[in-house]
Amino acid sequence: MTTAPVLYHLARADFMERVRRYSFLITLALTAYFCYICLPPNHASYVTMRIADHRGVYSSACVGTVVAMLSTLIFSLAGFYFVKNTVDRDLQTGVGQILATTPLTKPLYTLGKALSNFAVLAVMVGVMAVAAGVMQLARREDTTVRVWQLLAPFLFIVLPVMAAVAAVAILFEVIPGLRGGAGNVVYFFLWITGLGFAVQTPAEGHPWRASTDLVAFGVAIPSFVAACESAFPGCAASKEFSMGFNFGSGSVWNLTTFPWTGVHWSVLIVAGRLVWIGLAVLVALLAAVFFRRFDPARESRRQARPRPEAKLVTEEGESRPSGTYASKLSPLPPEARQFRFGVLVRAELRLALKGVSRWWYAVALILIAGGLFSPAAISRFFLVAAWIWPILIWSAMGTRELRQRTEQLVFSIARPLRRQLPTCWLAGVIVAALTGSGTGLRLLLARDGAGLVAWTVGALFIPALALALGVWSGSSKLFEVIYTLLWYAGPASQVASLDYMGATRPPSTSGAPLVFLVCTVLLGAMAVAGRRRQLQL
């Protein structure tokens, strides 16, 4: 069979496997809802695109471009996490081992998987485009649907970026260090950096270069600004442009509208956007270099290194002559059945920390020492770092049983809701308390009551969030993404209202500790409800 049919069948099978799930339908419904909130009516409490006090009339061109830019913004992040599981699925299901025994080449495999990822994302973009057309009619500012003006932004802005996202997801999946939660966190920071780069890059220079930025700001903004200045001469259009969900300080936004005919998609601009597709192909081919064809011995250097405690033990190596076997079991005395909460907490903690490298502990110690011995103002920054460091330990909470397929063992034990679930959460709290202990002690010594309250709430909140999201999603990914976003938007950016750990000064004035304490309780209830559902109680 030649390359194209192989590529087609590989991508098709993987695509079908993913879209024939109820969860995909829910994703499409959420996608359509996202389009709905991207186009708020005038006088709404938020805006998504604003030039000074104005915005474009919701024509096909405006609706298509605004929704396409916002989709690129969101899908370039969420889309990555959504599709980053295709190689893992082959690994988990064992299909990978079958594929590995076929003549399928590594580049063909990674290209096919990237193509499948792209197809999934393209379906979501397609739903977005259709929903944008429907929203244009629903908003009734311009009821003439011009198909090309509506669809061209999706075609040239969103899809090329989605191709790159699809390929990067494959690259992350085949590199052992980036396959798991660490990769999820790394991608988030790559995305933030890329976005910052796109926003700061002036929309100048050669048209094809100006059009290569992530969200196509270089293509659309100059055209929007020119139209605004033409409609409202003297307005601060070139200085005041915002894109994204902006709630402002007042109750509603009162924006006046101006007509906009859309981007003129010249060959040079289209060429600039196609750079993303070229990048996608290169990244997919690069992934082939790292792809190990599901050979467990080559999956990672660490596994391959002969370590006495990790070597595969053979049946022959440990079996003994049958005559020496003990097969009698003593009966368990009734007094042996005494459940102790502390013993299970210890066991959960050991489970959570087992396999963590010495480097991890070394960095954690540095963060604890830094928090303890630095001045109070700087100590809080150590706390911020200390409470992103154990993210992969927390993200395993609530998902470990499904991930390692031990749920039938653990869930068939008595009182899993009253015993295993709270002890698992408590183990997460202990991890938070230990890693943040430097700053915690510093606050205690400084008798900073408000800071201590915020610190305590943070230590309780993080594992509750991890447990709730883990139990409900069955995957560690959701917590890794949401927690990183929250961590970045709150403590790391010093935004008091989202600061769940008290890293901003003063922590008490925002009321955030109380809000996050309530959230902790709600998340705890959510985790219990989710586990009840898993237990079918």
Binding site: E309, L332, I413
Partner: protein, 293 residues
């Protein structure tokens, strides 16, 4: 000690019936649950182990409905699922200590019990190795050990000998026989010889329905005079297969030596043979299929 299954049915998505009106009452002893692949054995095991809820019907443990009060059973339950995982970074001892803590066993007693169990399942020498390096058979033995941790009154083992080498299989059968006494052991398998070796009663299940619940002796009596050994030319074998359930067929120089189950002699030269449990199983399953058809 009584486990009662009353009119239990389980319907999966797409209206797939895994169990239909299944009723059974069990007391101490080893129950062998046998049936072909997809018969509903694992579904029944999961319902009994409180992992899955029945769509209809009730299961009671000493009179308590396990769907309403699952903990009544869970505290005395040992369960070895057909397919289960382990935590790859833990050693066998750590894994068993974790489950012992979750099962509410006293630490000191748990340690003694773990030592004994590791001895019994022959994992003493690899007790401190990470489970990620264990072979399939070793994981299976660890699964057996965890099921016995709390000295269960109800022990449910689903395909327990899968992946075990012949020596370990024999050891496990002996262990089960020793364990049976004042407890209920349910052994689900499609390997008839496992059941033959230790079961005190046998349940036959096919297409989600209970075909029969008998002692091994009664099952054997049921096919007395119906098992035949017959030598047929190899060209006729397909036709014979279509007409009779065949438990074995061996090619020899004089033809194919066939062992089959039939109400009357299948033809000239056929000799009556003494039945085995495999013959009885074949007879029940094939007559069950005919009845369903």
């Amino acid at each position: 000690m009584k486990l009662a299954i009353e009119q239990v049915s389980k319907v999966y998505r797409g209206k797939v019936w895994a169990l239909r009106d299944f009723s059974l009452e069990l007391g101490p002893g080893i129950l062998g649950l046998i049936g072909p692949n997809g018969a509903g054995k694992s579904t029944l095991m999961r319902i009994l182990a409180t992992i899955t809820r029945a769509t209809r019907g009730t299961v009671t443990w000493n009179g308590t409905d396990i769907a309403r009060s699952p903990d009544a059973l869970r505290s005395v339950l040992g369960y070895l699922p057909q397919d289960f995982g382990v935590y790859p970074n833990l050693s066998a001892v750590e894994f068993l200590e974790y489950l012992a803590a979750a099962k509410g066993l006293d630490r000191r007693a748990a340690r003694l019990r773990i030592d004994e169990l590791l001895e019994v399942v022959n994992l003493v020498e690899v007790r401190k190795r990470p489970l990620g390096g264990y072979s399939g058979g070793m994981k299976q033995r660890l699964g057996i050990a965890q099921a016995l941790l709390n000295d269960p009154q109800l022990l449910i083992v689903d395909e327990p000998t899968a992946g075990l080498d012949p020596e370990e299989r024999v050891r496990f059968r002996n262990l089960l026989s020793e364990l049976a006494g004042a407890r209920i052991v349910i052994l689900s398998t499609h390997i008839v010889s496992d059941v033959e070796a230790c079961a005190t009663s046998i349940v036959l299940i096919s297409q989600g329905r209970l075909l029969g619940h008998e002692t091994p002796e009664a099952l054997l009596r049921g096919v007395e005079g119906r098992v035949w050994e017959w030598v047929v030319p190899s060209a006729e074998l397909p036709a014979v297969r279509r007409r009779y359930p065949i438990s074995s067929a061996v090619h020899r120089s004089d033809g194919v030596h066939v062992r089959l189950v039939a109400e009357a002699s299948p033809g000239a030269g056929a000799a009556s043979a003494s039945p085995t449990l495999e013959d009885a199983y074949l007879h029940w399953i094939s007559s069950g299929r005919r009845a369903t058809a």
